[in-house]
């Protein structure tokens, strides 16, 4: 049986797709057969971030409607043969996805894959609800910023009440925090919520902190998940996230300010 992970946030632009691409690649690189699904019907972008946009023939909606089978729609990643991408459809039909169809596809994938990563659209509408409905684990992607923290909290309420696990009275979805776009310098100067501030409000199991990094835009420019940029801070931070998720102990990195010398000279911490 596969483990189903939803990458969610409520708010848009916080790094859900970047995270989905990175952790799916990270899990696959570790030898686990992984599928990553784009649930953002109408606004598909995971294919671009994964660099397979020109290889999309069939999509998630085609599979649900029986117009293609799963093997036809799944795109094998060019960097890792353990990783497959199921792209979203570009249809504007909001009802293209349905609970039963999504369940069927996930069940079929579960027979063959170890991990299924569901990249949720922003918002709390149908697409987002479907992305999280069947999940076993939720990666709540949050920026250290008021609206993102609030939306994450809202999402936690939905995860706890509107998922399959909640409806069947099963063990609840395991919720993890992934704090992204973190700028230790701004945290130190009191301009940005710190990890502790965010945890005081959300108190989730922390999977990792991803620093604000130029590597993320460079990675999306090239269509290569940032985790493959092993020299970059964000790439390493995502590798730590995957390792922690798989049960390894890794100390937190990239959470301390680099502005050492001048600040010390003038009495900063």
């Amino acid at each position: 049986m596969a483990r189903i992970i939803v990458v969610t946030s409520g708010k848009g632009g916080v790094g859900k797709t970047t995270t989905s691409a990175a952790i799916a690649m990270g899990l696959a690189k570790r030898g686990h057969k992984t599928a990553v699904i784009d649930f953002d019907v109408g606004l598909r972008n995971l294919d671009l971030i994964m660099g397979c946009e020109r290889r999309v023939v069939y999509d998630f909606v085609n599979v649900i409607n029986g117009e293609a089978n799963l093997n036809q729609a799944l795109i094998r990643d060019k960097n890792c043969n353990q990783l497959y991408i199921l792209p979203a459809s570009q249809t504007r039909d909001k009802d293209a996805l349905n609970l039963e169809g999504v369940g069927r596809v996930l069940e079929e994938l579960s027979r063959d894959f170890k991990y299924i990563v569901c990249d949720s659209p922003a918002g709390i509408e149908k697409g987002a609800n479907l992305a999280m409905y069947y999940a076993d684990d939720a990666f709540v992607v949050t920026n250290p910023e008021v609206s993102s923290v609030r939306d994450s909290d809202r999402m936690l309420g939905i995860l706890a009440s509107k998922s399959r696990r909640a409806e069947l009275n099963m063990e609840p979805i395991k919720e993890y925090l992934l704090l992204t776009r973190y700028d230790p310098d701004r945290v130190e100067s009191g301009e940005m919520l710190s990890l502790d501030d965010v945890q005081e409000i959300l108190s989730l199991h922390l999977l990792g902190v991803i620093p604000e990094s130029k590597a993320v835009l460079n990675a999306s420019n090239s269509g290569i998940p940032v985790i493959l940029d092993e020299k970059s801070d964000a790439g390493q931070a995502y590798a730590d996230v995957v390792a922690r998720y798989l049960g390894e102990k890794r100390p937190l990195r990239f959470i301390d300010s680099k502005k050492g010398f001048l600040r010390k000279l003038f009495g900063g911490k």
């Binding site: 923290v149 609030r150 909290d153 809202r154 009191g190 919520l193 005081e200 409000i201």
Partner: protein, 97 residues
């Protein structure tokens, strides 16, 4: 304390403001999250019924919803005006759901 600290502390840190605002907001939103959506309307209609018989203020009626593993309790508390009853408060607990 350095010279820089002096200038820095003259402004309140925006992150602290953010955290305080969030704590209040999130606590408020969590309070209403798990409650049935009909609660405000129920409160409103109960008010109308009660006011047919007893003249009470809006804030004399409180509806409290509590939930534990085995049951959900809806507690309706009405404070009656002094002249209407010897006792100043009469409590009525309705078990619902």
């Amino acid at each position: 304390m350095s010279l820089l600290d002096y200038f820095r502390s003259s402004k309140s840190k925006t992150a602290t403001v953010a955290k305080e605002r969030l704590q209040i907001l999130v606590a408020h939103e969590r309070y209403y999250r798990d409650k049935p959506s009909y609660l405000p309307q129920l409160q409103e209609e109960l008010m109308q019924v009660i006011r047919k018989y007893v003249q009470v203020d809006q804030d004399a009626i409180s509806v409290k919803f509590e939930q534990d593993e085995s049951q959900e309790t809806l507690e309706l508390n009405i404070v009656l005006p002094d002249s209407q009853a010897a006792r100043s408060s009469q409590q009525d607990t309705v078990r619902a759901l």
